[in-house]
Amino acid sequence: MATLTRQDLNFGQVVADILCEFLEVAIHLILYVREVYPSGIFQKRKKYNVPVQMSCHPELNQYIQDTLHCVKPLIEKNEAEKVVVVIMDKEHHPVERFVFEISQPPLLSISSETLLSHVEQLLRAVILKISVCDAVLDNNPPGCTFTVLVHTREAAARNMEKVQVIKDFPWIVADEQEVHMEEAKLIPLKTMTSDILKMQLYVEEKTQKT
């Protein structure tokens, strides 16, 4: 099959689509597993041929979709370094940070017909790992909230502030306290490597959560 380069924007869009779909599922699953929201709002849906829990709450879904819609252009241009889902307690101190480190190889090559099914398999494994992550994490205090941070380059960040991808959905520079966590434990969860995408998922967890 053809070897496509990054200049082939179509392919970049494909990767961004795949990744954003995956991140949406992953965020929903993190919210379910870490009990950020009551489990009643989640229903079982199918993704990558396995059941996953997705929320039914329209505003929550809209928020997550808008968030990822803004992240997508960054991923297309390979400017997003990390996407972080931060879970914060009532005082807005982060207690857990699920970090998705993303990198795309500069020379993307689709060399195999089974590429996408292979990627699907890898993503399925990441989903499975998120489902069992509560074995290695302590329980969160009640009343947690979450937010999504994106680590990107300076220029891209300024662009994002200037150009609102979605109206009334501004992105702002994150507070220092949300970005850095004191006394953090690092727990690696999963690494995936494929031709089109490399991703590492780890959790930074606060040692003392309450």
Binding site: R45, S131, V132, C133, D134, A135
Partner: protein, 458 residues
């Protein structure tokens, strides 16, 4: 067996934080499933005795007889450890209890159990039952020739069912969308049948068959009726099986496929459609085998009559014709279907039914969850069968059972007709073919469509 496996399981569970199900363990270590179950049990016992380190969680598979809503049923469910005693107490007779999985995490829902097995089974698809305890000597993978024949057979029976649908639709109220679109009369049925054909190749074949309608017409009704009694023959007992006492082996199979934690009823409802599909598969295999045997030269003579077929479709067309004609001589099969009406006089192209069935089953298989919702909507359509009363009953049943999928027989038939109706509405504008036969085939069990879906899914 040495104790190395204990270390293996320990590594899987603690170091890799994996969910170790018995099926995954048996595929990974290459041991029989019963051995794997015992391994997990011993591991659990040992760890519990030591009572050190991180807590382990386990899920169990419980199966037994219980009485629900006044009817005895065989329940198989995957339950968490804390609910194990409660579930066991609820059952009259506990047939088997064994460890299903061991993991560190306390699982909130059963999705990870399924995900764990998914990749392991997918890799070993050809021999995923190598270590299984379920054996059937007759279950041998079909050769490609047999596979093709089975596909044709499956196409024949759906068409028969579809043919009856337009008749039903015509007589229903205008609320039914597909029925509303159908012109009245037999020609209208034909036209609507044609219109509702899907774009599948079989449909194109049928278009061409329409061109040769004169030739095919005579044969179509009989094959359709033939297929229907045949499928009925398999449908009824198999449906009963599913309904009352789900085959334990099938359930165990579905256990592996879709583990459900929590309530047993949920498990049953989930497994019953799957066991239904499994039974449909068996049914199609047997019916195809029977059809293969009764080939005659008449089919071959019909081949040259296929005029407009493409080269690609030639063979499938011919095979389809063969299928349609086969049931002709075997009119003695009617007796196996006690309540099936006599062979209908009106001829309808059985291929149409095939197509509809195929599309139906394809739809069924493609999005099961969505299908259920759709079915609920469509179930509100009641269709009256001009031929026999039991289709009418099914129409009613479809309404009342719209919420639960626990009754496969009425459900499946309702689903089939409802999904047929939907495909009807969709394809109405696409092709025109004669629908010739209105048969009791409409009432045939809906097992056949799902078989095609099974093949198509592959």
């Amino acid at each position: 067996m040495d104790d190395l496996y204990l270390d293996n399981i320990d590594e899987f569970v603690h170091d890799q934080n994996k969910i170790v199900t018995y099926k995954w363990l048996s595929l990974t270590l290459g041991v029989h499933v019963n051995t794997a179950k015992q391994m997990l049990y011993h591991y659990l016992e040992q760890k519990r005795r030591e009572s050190s380190g991180t807590p382990l969680h386990a899920t169990y598979l419980v199966s037994g007889k219980c009485v629900e809503n006044g009817s005895t049923c065989h329940k198989v469910s995957v339950v968490r450890e804390d609910k194990l005693d409660a579930v066991k107490a609820k059952m009259d007779v506990t047939v088997s209890v064994h460890v299903y999985s061991v993991q560190r995490a306390e699982l909130k829902d059963s999705s990870p159990l399924y995900s764990t097995d998914y990749d392991a089974v997918k890799e070993n698809l050809k021999n995923c039952n190598k270590y299984s305890a379920i054996h059937c000597a007759a279950a041998v993978p079909m050769s490609s020739v047999e596979l093709q024949r089975a596909q044709e057979v499956a196409l024949v029976t759906p068409v028969e069912k579809e043919i009856s649908k337009p008749h039903l639709n015509e007589s229903t109220s205008a609320t039914s969308k597909p029925s509303a679109k159908q012109p009245s009369g037999i020609m209208g049925m034909f036209a609507s049948k044609n219109a509702s054909k899907s774009q599948e190749s079989s449909k194109e074949v049928k278009t061409e068959q329409k061109d040769d309608s004169a030739l095919v017409e005579t044969s179509k009704t009989k094959p359709a009726s033939k297929a229907n009694p045949m499928s009925n023959f398999f449908g009824k007992p198999s449906q009963k099986k599913v309904d009352e006492k789900p085959n334990k082996s099938i359930k165990e199979e579905t256990d592996g496929n879709s583990a459900t934690s929590g309530t047993a009823s949920m498990k049953r409802s989930q497994s019953s459609p799957k066991s239904e599909f499994a039974i449909k598969e068996e049914q199609s295999k047997v019916s195809s085998a029977l059809k293969v045997e009764s080939k005659d030269t008449r089919n071959k003579s019909k081949r040259p009559e296929v005029l407009d077929s493409d080269d690609e479709k030639m063979e499938s067309q011919q095979k389809k014709r063969r299928r349609i004609k086969k049931p002709q001589p075997d009119s003695s099969d009617d007796e196996v279907v006690p309540d099936s009406p006599p062979v209908p006089n009106i001829q309808t192209p059985s291929p149409k039914k095939q197509v509809k069935r195929e599309s139906v089953s394809h739809q069924e298989e493609s999005s099961e969850v969505k299908r259920r919702k759709r079915r609920r909507v469509l179930k509100s359509h009641t269709f009256v069968d001009e031929e026999g009363s039991f289709v009418t009953e099914k129409g009613y049943v479809s309404e009342s059972y719209s919420e639960s999928e626990e009754e496969p027989e009425p459900n499946s038939k309702a689903k089939d007709s409802s999904s047929l109706k939907q495909s009807f509405g969709k394809r109405e504008e696409e092709k025109k073919e004669k629908s010739q036969k209105k048969t009791s085939a409409a009432n045939k069990p809906t097992k056949q469509p799902s078989i095609m879906g099974f093949f198509q899914k592959k």
